[in-house]
């Protein structure tokens, strides 16, 4: 056998051992994560859309994007959590974190913020998640949003204006800035009493809240 062949076989085998070894070794070791981070971050609880009392013992903040499929997937669990803890001990706060790859999420955020001024935030928020698949693929979802808003008795022209002018961009940008400050790197990201939650699945959210309420 040529010397070069021997060297190349050696290189290939070492490469295989190193690369595949790293894949399996690292892949396993990173799986078990803590539910909550130990670091408590300062979150401005005066902002965002809230359900529950301001004096609640447990405050859950979600940074979410209305066009994000993962946020939609988290919705049923968030709903259950909110429903189950409908007393003064728990507060849920929704904050915007529109990602750039979701091209309609800012329009959706402006729309839901307009709805907020009319007292219809949660109705529109829920409907937007419910119909996400329908409007995400449109080239311009403005008309869809206008019609959707009309179902809740919202003024069509005002919805149009809010979306086209980006009337609530400042508020949305404030949420984005706060999200960036506290280290949001994906949506949805949850913070429970200022601690970032590292959820392996959304059901963990229920556990994390139940534990915090017990404390």
């Amino acid at each position: 056998m040529k010397t070069e062949t021997k060297i190349l076989i050696g290189v290939l085998i070492s490469c295989l051992v190193l690369v595949l070894g790293a894949v399996f070794f690292l892949g396993r070791s990173e799986n078990g994560g803590n539910l909550g981070n130990t670091q408590t971050l300062n979150i401005d609880y005066s902002k965002g859309e809230k359900i529950g009392s301001d004096s609640a013992k447990v405050k859950l903040v979600e940074f979410s994007d209305l066009q994000c499929p993962a946020c939609k997937a988290a919705e049923p669990i968030v709903k259950q959590v909110v429903e189950k803890n409908k007393d003064n001990s728990f507060q849920f706060i929704y904050r915007h974190f529109p990602l750039t790859q979701h091209i309609h999420s800012r329009k959706a955020a402006n729309f839901v913020e307009y709805a907020q001024t009319q007292g219809k935030f949660w109705e529109v928020h829920d409907k937007l998640f419910e119909t996400q698949d329908s409007w995400s693929t449109l080239s311009d979802p403005s008309d869809y949003f206008v019609n959707l808003g009309a179902q809740f008795g919202l003024d069509k022209d005002k919805i149009k204006e809010a979306i086209s002018k980006g009337e609530f961009d400042q508020k949305i940008n404030d949420d984005l800035a706060e999200g960036n400050r506290v280290g949001v790197d994906a949506t949805p990201t949850f913070y429970m009493n200022g601690k970032k939650l590292n959820l392996q699945n959304f059901t963990d959210l229920k556990l994390a809240i139940a534990e915090e309420l017990k404390k």
């Binding site: 056998m1 040529k2 499929p69 993962a70 949001v184 994906a186």
Partner: protein, 137 residues
């Protein structure tokens, strides 16, 4: 010389696909990340597995096969083996074309690592053709 380039390219491809396999076995939460969103979308799509096996494993097998055959050819030049390597490279590249087509027109998302592997397989394919042609003359 060409054989050595193919060997190096297949090692590079091996590293890229191994990294992808690593990404696949991460059981992270379902999220939309700020960066690398394309990879997540591709990974979550129904096209990321064949017969229940994650696609990067096929990539790893492909590059191991190319590297092994190339070592064989460096040891002993053989037209039949060169043809076998060309066949393997065609399969690998064609698969890459299919996956890139899916990314562009079906999944509508780009995964940078998948594309890197596709480009590497493209180069391997071109050099394999050239090698095979030279052997045939």
């Amino acid at each position: 010389m060409s054989n050595r380039i193919i060997f190096i390219l297949s090692l590079l491809g091996l590293i890229v696909t191994a990294f992808l396999a690593f990404e696949y076995i991460q059981t992270g939460p379902i999220v939309c990340p700020i960066t690398g969103a394309g990879c997540e979308l591709v990974r979550k799509s129904s096209y990321s597995k064949i017969l229940g096996i994650d696609l990067p494993y096929f990539g790893i097998l492909f590059y191991i096969a190319v590297a092994t055959i190339t070592i064989w050819l460096i040891q002993k030049s053989d037209k039949l083996v060169s043809g076998l390597r060309l066949l393997v490279s065609i399969i690998g590249f064609a698969f890459g074309v299919y996956l890139t087509f899916l990314e562009a027109f079906v999944i509508h998302a780009w995964c940078i690592w998948c594309l890197t592997s596709f480009i590497i397989s493209g180069f391997i394919f071109l050099i394999c053709i050239e090698e095979f042609r030279r052997k045939s003359i």
